[in-house]
């Protein structure tokens, strides 16, 4: 099992750092899955996470100048590692002016992801900072726990409003309530509602548009034949929504959510080279 990769371009490094920062805010521990073409950051829906799950996919070619990996076996050419993304985020934090960043899987006292940052210096040789991030190797028999979640059979799918606006609304609502109701319909309307003993606040968004989901096998999904005005709603933990929105430093190319009434809200944020799916279950 081997892995080495290198980033030389500063823009790629910054972009990669931003992705890692986002992941670090969403998950304390997560699984990193490496294949020869992609990296995945996976959080599976354990009770410990509050039922939240995450699937983030990156094309390695868009970030790394060099990328070599050898999985556990020829027919299973993948590596699954458990790590604390905050460590990776910290390691990259001070690498903003680096000449190169190399990442390597090593096993000295324990398996580690070694991030070596080469920094410019006034002396003849560069400064090297290495960060050894301890990781856990996930054995193949557990890989099934980390399969890509399927898109739920949603009632309504709708594009999200401008994330910055949504974020500031949710941040203010967070001060008043622990949960928020997201409701939306197939006419491009979405409401965010909070209700407490003292106050209820609703923010209305319109003309958001609904993504055209082509059903895979031609059969009717629960969204079809649905009354356009009828709202699908789910009450979710407001903090989790705020965490998702808080880190979006770059506006995604596409941002949408799929609501399964009273069950789950599935958020999809697509950037050019990164896709992030985040599932927040509805509260009882």
């Amino acid at each position: 099992m081997r892995f080495r990769a290198k980033i030389v371009d500063l823009a790629c490094l910054n972009h990669f750092s931003r992705v890692i920062n986002t992941i670090a805010k969403l998950a304390k521990t997560c699984t990193l899955r490496l294949t020869d073409s992609k990296l995945y950051f996976i959080l599976s829906d354990k009770v410990a996470n509050g039922g939240v799950s995450m699937w983030c996919e990156l094309c390695q070619g868009n970030f790394f100048d060099e990328f070599q990996m050898e999985g556990v076996a020829a027919e299973h050419n993948e590596i699954y590692l458990e790590l604390v993304p905050e460590n990776l985020s910290r390691a990259l934090k001070t690498a903003q002016s680096a000449k190169a960043v190399k990442i390597k899987l090593t096993n000295k006292h324990c398996p580690c992801l070694r991030v070596a940052v080469e920094l410019p210096s006034l002396s003849s040789s560069s400064r090297i900072v290495t960060h050894d991030i301890p990781v856990g190797v996930i054995p193949r028999r557990l890989w099934n726990d980390f399969r890509e979640p399927s898109v739920p059979d949603f009632d309504v799918s709708i594009y999200l409003p401008v994330l910055k606006t949504m974020k500031s609304v949710v941040e203010r609502m967070k001060n008043l309530s622990n949960s928020v109701v997201i409701e939306a319909n197939l006419s491009g309307e979405m409401n965010l509602k909070i209700e407490t003993d003292l106050v209820s606040v609703t923010t209305h968004f319109k003309d958001l548009g609904n993504p055209p989901w082509a059903s895979e096998d031609g059969c009717q999904s629960s969204a079809q034949g649905r009354d356009l005005e009828s709202m699908a709603e789910a009450r979710i933990d407001i903090k989790k929504l705020q965490q998702l929105l808080a880190r979006q430093q770059v506006n995604p190319t596409k941002a949408l959510c799929n609501i399964v009434s009273k069950r789950i809200v599935h958020f999809v944020l697509l950037h050019e080279d990164v896709s992030l799916q985040y599932f927040i279950p509805a509260l009882a």
Partner: protein, 376 residues
Amino acid sequence: LSLRAVNSSRSAFASFLFAPLFFQRYEAGDTQPDRELFRCKVLMKSFLGIFRSLPSLEKTVGKCLILLKPQASRLVVQLHCKYGECRWGHGCGDTRWHRASSPAELVPSLPGVTKTHNLAFQECERLQAVFDTQRCASSLCAPARVLAEAVVHFPPTLAEVTLGAGPGGKISLRNYVEDEAERSKTMVTELCLAEDEFQTVAVAPGSHITFCLKEFRGLLTFAEASNLPLTIHYDMPGRPVIFTLDDAVLEVHLVLATLSDMESNLQPPTTNGVSHLPAPSDDFTDDLESYMIAMETSAYEEGSGVPPSPTFPLRTPCPAESDPEEEEEEEEEGAVPGTPPHKKFRSLFFGSVLTPGGPGLAPTQEVLAEDSDGEY
């Protein structure tokens, strides 16, 4: 003028020595030749409160006068303001809406206004750490900027860092992870600096020293601001590490206790011709213990004898403070509890010094200087 402070666990000591030329005007007041130098201590919080917001002080204050009124037991600090900027009359220069962050700011800084602060002081014993940079086997000197850039890679909350002289002349800085269990969970960061980034390097190959990063950062900020090169003197693990800044009119020392090596044997310090020769004691042969900086008071100067212990630096003449005009007038900050050291670090330097079977201060407790009064 000498300003000194020691932290509550006595594992860090700092001293700033200002020559009269540092000031625009310096009047020592009458001192008879046989009279003891004046020493007092002032509550840190009050003193810092006066100088709270440096950017606004720089804008509003033209002159600062410090004078001692021994009869009234007051230290007077007068700020002569040029003009005020804060529209809420705080005298802090901040034009956004805000509240005053210290009582000092409630007095507006109008043109020509003089703000006078009267601080109560207490006379106290001499506070002096025992250290000798000449006896340190290794030393390094680098511009403050290089060290500041090195330290930025470590998290702000990191307690201890290990400085080492590695192969190929590389100087390394690595975060210290206390025990084996932590090692498999904690990220280890290591930075290597080439020898030519330093102004001088005179280190024992393979040597290393572990000290508290937080306290060092404080000095580093000052060094960077004053653009002075910083010299690090260290010896064996367990012996204090000494950081110095030198200028024509200012001399700064920061002495930190260091972690003693678990693997190394306890070496009794060599004698250096000083009158007090402690008999080796068995009490501190525990390799896990760290050394505290020996503090002495004038009481001990009469030769009552340094308590027997091989673990502390012996009293030596301090070669560093050779400024002939030193200490005509002294202010001292005593052991006022400031930011307590990180809990883990504290237990390293305090709890482990206790002899087995005694939870309280054992008779051989290595604090040679008693607090002249209780803590505030």
